[in-house]
């Protein structure tokens, strides 16, 4: 009888695990869909507060414009005042940085940090977890008291900033609550927490992100999103001329 009960439990667990494994692509594609604004344009203001031990908190603010269908974005630095007018422009896979002082564009990268914070340009753009990563492990767990799927991802290409990421996704509602990013050598580099979400035209998107630097203890950045909009943007926003024009 005991054997029968044990076998039944194992069978149920195996069936549950198999079902979860089958659901993984669906969970990840839901997450991808949440950050994909293909067919619409997206605009928002990101306020980044960075904390470093022994230093005063710094506040950066950028205005982001995205057109995911064409892999374009334009990002304007609003704060700090000394960097106001700087901007980033993405056209396909090229990212350009505009410096209003020299009035020149220089080649930049989506992997670069924004204004000396822990956030990277890629954190503010469309992500495709399914394209960039493969699932190498999954299990159930909790974040606080919330039940989550813990999905271990390994990069398919070297085009992504982090070689390995572990996602903590809320079970009852597909929401990313926590993300751990690892170096190529396998060391935890940063942890991202997503405590607040807003609903924008039926889709969930984080409105607050906390990024903790795991190498430089005590260093963290908090991103807050405001003025989110899915209204169509003029084509000229995604041009070098736009970045030059806003500085005139």
């Amino acid at each position: 009888m005991k054997r029968l009960i044990a076998a039944t439990i194992l069978a149920i667990a195996a069936a549950g695990s198999a079902a979860f494994a089958q659901d993984l692509p669906k969970i990840l594609s839901t997450l991808d869909a949440q950050s994909d604004f293909t067919g619409k344009d997206f605009a928002a203001v990101y306020t980044i507060v960075s904390q470093k031990p022994g230093e005063k908190d710094t506040v950066s603010q950028v205005r982001m414009f995205r057109r995911d269908a064409k892999k374009q974005f334009a990002m304007l630095v609003v704060l700090p005042e000394v960097n106001k007018g700087q901007g980033y422009l993405r056209e396909d896979d090229n990212v350009w940085f505009y410096d209003p002082t020299s009035r020149k564009f220089s080649f930049s990268s989506i992997k670069e940090n924004i204004q000396n914070s822990e956030a990277k340009n890629s954190d503010l753009t469309r992500k495709s977890i399914l394209d960039d990563y493969e699932v190498v492990g999954s299990k159930e767990g909790t974040v606080g008291k919330i039940a989550v799927w813990i999905i271990d991802l390994k990069a398919r290409t070297n085009e992504v900033s982090y070689d390995r990421s572990v996602l903590y996704i809320r079970k009852d509602k597909t929401m990313l609550l926590k993300q751990e990013d690892y170096s190529v050598s396998g060391r935890l580099m940063r942890t991202m927490l997503f405590p607040k979400y807003v609903e924008l035209e039926g889709r969930l998107m984080p409105s607050q992100i906390l990024i903790i630097d795991e190498l430089n203890l005590g260093e963290r950045s908090q991103l807050t999103l405001t003025e989110q909009s899915l209204a169509i943007l003029p084509d000229k926003v995604f041009t070098k001329a736009f970045l030059e024009q806003v500085n005139k």
């Binding site: 080649f107 070297n158 900033s161 070689d163 190498l215």
Partner: protein, 440 residues
Amino acid sequence: MNTIANIAFRNLSRQKKRTILLGSAIAFGVMIVTLINGFAGAFSSNVSENFSNLMAGHIFISGTEKGPNDKDMSVIRNDSSLTAAVEASGAPTKYITRRSAFSGTLIFEGKKIRTNVDGAQLDKETFLRERLLLKDGSWDAMADETALILSEKIAAKLNADVGDTILVQMQTVNGQNNVGEFTLAGISFDAGIFGQMMSYANLSYVNELLGLAPDEYQTMGIMLDGLKNTEVSASEIYARLNESGVQLFERGVKDETGAETPFQALLRKQNKESWEGVKYRLFTINEMLSQIKQIVAALDTTAAIILVVLFVIIMVGITNTFSMVMFERIGEIGTMRALGVQRGGVRSMFLYEAVFLALGGAIAGIILALIVMLGISMINFGMDSPAFLIMKNGHMSFYLPPLKAVGNVIIIALLTLVAVSSPAGKAAKLTPAEALRTQK
């Protein structure tokens, strides 16, 4: 004519104090200008030679591969063609280095600093052991794959000691984030401002962190027997590489605006091109440091301006002095004219006197400058001096191109002649009767 020259020479000793003062003024000006010229002459070669030591080569070959999405990736996967070309070129090679490098942030107990880490074949690069003196730790500890050598200043900023584990945050050749763990094996004496920025680790571990295979690397450095052979050898090696059929970037790319060094222009051109496999670029220490030539030109221009300014002042003094001389010797001029000396003879006497004065002053100035140069070059400022890069083995060194010295002497002689021409002309124009009746 010889008599006139003799009289002019003798005249110089008639008012010794005045002659010495004027000659000293000329000598001082020449000394200053010669010192600047001498410093500028050695500046370029000293900086280039010191940079060659820091970067372990006079000629460099680096490989670039186009990664996914057309991103450049610095790597040399197989160097058989490169070593064959170096051998076939007949370049006077002292040694060849193979290095990979990255710029990263070293982190230790809440402190961090950005630095360059050079991955070198420490078992083969014996010259590095000779050049890089360790203040703490030992070269034997470099046998540990994760060993790291930091300069004194960087170690102090991190507050790290030998044996401590130091994290490094950097990016792979593909731009992915990576973290390494080094063990501090040695702390080197600071070798000047650039030496402080250099840290050394084992090539194999640096490759691992960069995402390269153990037998791959990024830059081949070819150290020659001296800087003078650099350009000829580079052309020879480039020609042999071309013959071997490897993909090569064009050499000597120039920026039309003059805003970039040839090296920067080469990199910019590379960004615009597309290719498959590894493409090599060959560059020399002179191309990397071509802006040094602009500094030398600026120093030479400064020297020329100082020469002119000093001599305008000295010329006023010379003109004034020779006007007085003419007035003092007016009776003598009258006598000479009455005895049959022509106007040209009187003019020549004054001009000879000026030329002798200028030559004497200029030669004394050059001798003084050489003595000062010798004195300064004997002072040992040490290898940790902030001015290490412009010195030769810790000593200031000077090189005075002989033509420049001769040129300076000619300029001074001409300027002195110009200064004296007016009083000499006035003296020549005097009639014997007018000169003889003029009361002093």
